[in-house]
């Protein structure tokens, strides 16, 4: 039983990171109806920014850690807006396929650009937060896992607030429902889309730092697998749906961890993804897709 709860905590902290990443996919899809494949690489850039920011703060303090997190989020928000401005905006109105291919190109550009600048040798991510082991009865939880879960919960709560309780959030929902009608009532499409990219990329940046904190070896291709899984999580939850993306991410993280700890650990990814296929067979729109009115 202890083992089961331990795995549950492992799955939760993994799922929390997938959730931060999945929200970016789902928000962009909700507004522009295309998959931003460069998103996983924004996540990678986030951890690299964190790596360099960590050199300038005292290691192992809560405030230092939060500053690193904030710097990575801001840098990624700027990067996300720049990607949208220079790569995607010129293609607005073009067939979705064109934008999709541009997104793949953007993804490769970021991966190999970072490799060119920083090399492909994995780097050791410093311990920016104080780290210790917490004993909860028989369970051993690392402080990093708690930080991941805590930060993810706060960010998701903040996102929910922005989307449902601010004017800009209302504008995002309006654009998601009908871009043309939104423009007719005076919503500036460019601002809303740029804001969506900034928001999603900031979450990815935070995810990158948290991921590197838990698995402290970063390289230019570290985003590929988490990105793929977060993308699937977004679809599982119903693409375009915010709570759905978070739910899908937690299910995926949980499934991966439970299978990974069983006798079938070789088939960890195969079983996790197989489970998704089964769910998609019965609910093609995703777990929460279509049935919630609000789509962002």
């Amino acid at each position: 039983m202890t083992e089961f709860f331990q795995q549950l905590i492992n799955g939760l902290s993994l799922g929390a990171i997938y959730a931060l990443l999945a929200l970016g996919y789902t928000m962009v899809y909700g507004i522009l109806r295309f998959i931003n494949f460069a998103h996983a690489d924004v996540f990678m850039v986030g951890s690299f920014v964190g790596y360099y920011a960590a050199r300038h703060i005292p290691a192992g303090t809560i405030w230092g850690g939060l500053i690193v997190l904030l710097v990575a989020m801001i840098a990624c928000a700027v990067l996300g807006m720049a990607i949208e401005r220079f790569a995607y905006r010129p293609l607005r109105g073009a067939p979705t396929l064109n934008v999709l291919i541009t997104a793949i190109g953007m993804s490769l550009l970021l991966e190999y650009g970072v490799q060119l600048l920083f090399g492909s040798t994995p780097r050791n991510f410093p311990a920016v937060f104080p780290s210790s082991q917490v004993q909860l009865g028989d369970l051993t939880v690392s402080s990093n896992q708690l930080i991941v879960i805590g930060v993810a919960a706060v960010l998701l709560g903040g996102l929910q607030r922005i989307v449902f309780h601010t004017r800009l959030g209302a504008a995002m929902r309006a654009v998601s429902l009908n871009p043309r009608a939104a423009q007719l009532v005076g919503i500036n499409l460019n601002t809303v889309i740029a804001f969506t990219f900034a928001l999603g990329s900031a979450l990815a940046g935070a995810g990158g730092v948290l991921y590197a904190l838990n698995y402290p070896s970063i390289d230019p291709f570290m985003g590929v697998m988490p990105g793929l899984k977060a993308f699937v999580a977004a679809i599982l939850g119903g693409i375009g749906n915010l709570p759905g993306a978070a739910l899908g991410a937690l299910i995926l993280g949980g499934a991966e961890t439970v299978v990974g700890g069983s006798a079938y650990s070789t088939y960890k990814d195969a079983i996790a993804f197989g489970l998704l296929i089964v769910i998609m067979l019965f609910r093609p729109a995703g777990l929460l897709g279509r049935f919630t009115a609000e789509k962002v």
């Binding site: 795995q7 994995p122 690392s142 697998m225 991966e256 961890t257 960890k268």
Partner: protein, 384 residues
């Protein structure tokens, strides 16, 4: 379209002709005045320190040989290619070295999976290949042109299993192996078999894939099985993450592994999580042997005081074994170099006496090291 093609056809033909001509250039020219040896290894990427160390040492050896007059009256030119730790890249660069650079022999790759890729190419082109450090038996089984300068996993795995039973006095071992690395699965299989034969019990047998970063699920299952030692035959990047996560989950038993741990980065990434762990490798830089100390000094002088690891020692030996074979062959014909390599006997290298057996594997001792106070420390040497 057809008419424009007709217009373009002469141009295309002439370009093709030009390419063919330049391609044939070196062949028609005079006998080259250098002997080219290809060196391909992962110098960057996940396993980057392996190739970095071995290539540096190979270059050091070749420079020494050239300074002493080269071989067969010619200087040696080392052509270096990086496989970037990527699957698929080894075959590509091996083919490039053989067909474009026209090397007479290959030294590389440093890991087993990528050596298997390169070996297929080298065998097909009948170019002798000597891998410094690939320990999986299948590598040299590829064909009669493939050799190695190190011991093989059946030996290494047995040494480790015996060490666990006799020196660590443990009976319950857990295994964590990578399914996508020939090295890891091969070494894991040997250990499992030998450990059981000696009366030990494998209490947990978990798997992961190359490039994984989250091992908490497997480690949680391992912790529940309550082992006395955790055997992790993997490469240093993963081992470091595994060690950290194991300690975070409260697993305190020592980790045990093979020569894939051999890299200073292991301790950089893992921090103090590796304290008290053991692994087997090809030599110890601490050995008082004058031959080893001379090599350590030369390497440190040349490469900003970095202490040469096992991969460096093997890269150094591989270069000397290869040149020795070319000298004995008296020619750069592949078949003659192959025969001379196969006849290597009582070669006195930095990593010990090397005898090429009939399966083209070097038979030689293994050293066991441990990590104390953040330093690799020599424990013992096990002869074959």
């Amino acid at each position: 379209m057809p008419s424009s093609f007709r217009k373009l056809a002469p141009l295309l033909l002439s370009i093709t002709g030009l390419l063919l001509l330049t391609g044939c250039g070196p062949k028609n020219g005079a006998e080259p005045d250098t002997i080219k040896i290809g060196n391909y290894a992962a110098i960057t990427g996940k396993d980057g320190t392996f190739g970095d160390s071995s290539t540096k040492a190979t270059r050091l050896a070749i420079d020494e040989i050239n300074a002493a007059g080269g071989v067969l009256g010619k200087q040696i030119q080392l052509v270096v290619e990086d496989t970037q730790s990527k699957p698929g890249e080894a075959a590509t660069v091996a083919k490039k070295l053989i067909t474009r650079d026209r090397v007479v022999a290959l030294i590389g790759e440093v890991t087993s999976s990528r050596s298997l890729e390169g070996a297929g190419v080298a065998q097909a082109f009948k170019t002798p290949m000597l891998t410094p450090s690939a320990t999986n038996p299948a590598v040299t089984a590829t064909g009669d042109y493939i050799f190695r300068a190190c011991f093989i996993d059946p030996f290494q795995g047995a040494v480790l299993a015996t060490f666990a039973k006799d020196k660590l006095n443990v009976r319950r071992a857990a295994l964590l192996t990578s399914t996508s690395s020939a090295y890891s699965t091969g070494l894991g299989d040997v250990f499992r078999e030998q450990f059981r034969r000696d009366g030990g019990e494998i209490v947990s047998d978990q798997k992961f894939a190359e490039g994984d970063k989250d091992f908490k699920a497997q480690l949680t299952a391992i912790k529940a099985s309550n082992p006395e030692v955790l055997f992790v035959p993997a490469y240093y990047t993963e081992v470091a993450l595994i060690a950290r996560q194991a300690r975070e989950l409260g697993i305190t038993v020592p980790l045990l592994g093979g020569d894939g741990w051999e890299a200073p980065e292991l301790l950089e990434i893992a921090g103090d999580a590796m304290e008290g762990c053991y692994y087997s490798t090809h030599y110890s830089a601490e050995s008082p042997d004058p031959k080893i100390q001379a090599f350590v000094k030369k390497y440190r002088d040349r490469f900003d005081n970095r202490t040469p690891d096992g991969m460096a020692a093997l890269g150094y030996d591989a270069a000397y074994i290869m040149v020795d074979a070319i000298r004995r062959a008296g020619s750069t014909e592949p078949e003659k170099i192959r025969a001379a390599l196969a006849a290597t006997q009582a070669f006195d290298g930095v990593t010990g006496r090397i005898d090429m057996d009939k399966d083209r594997n070097a038979s030689k001792p293994a050293a066991i090291l441990t990590i104390i106070n953040g330093k690799f420390t020599y424990v013992e040497t096990v002869a074959p």
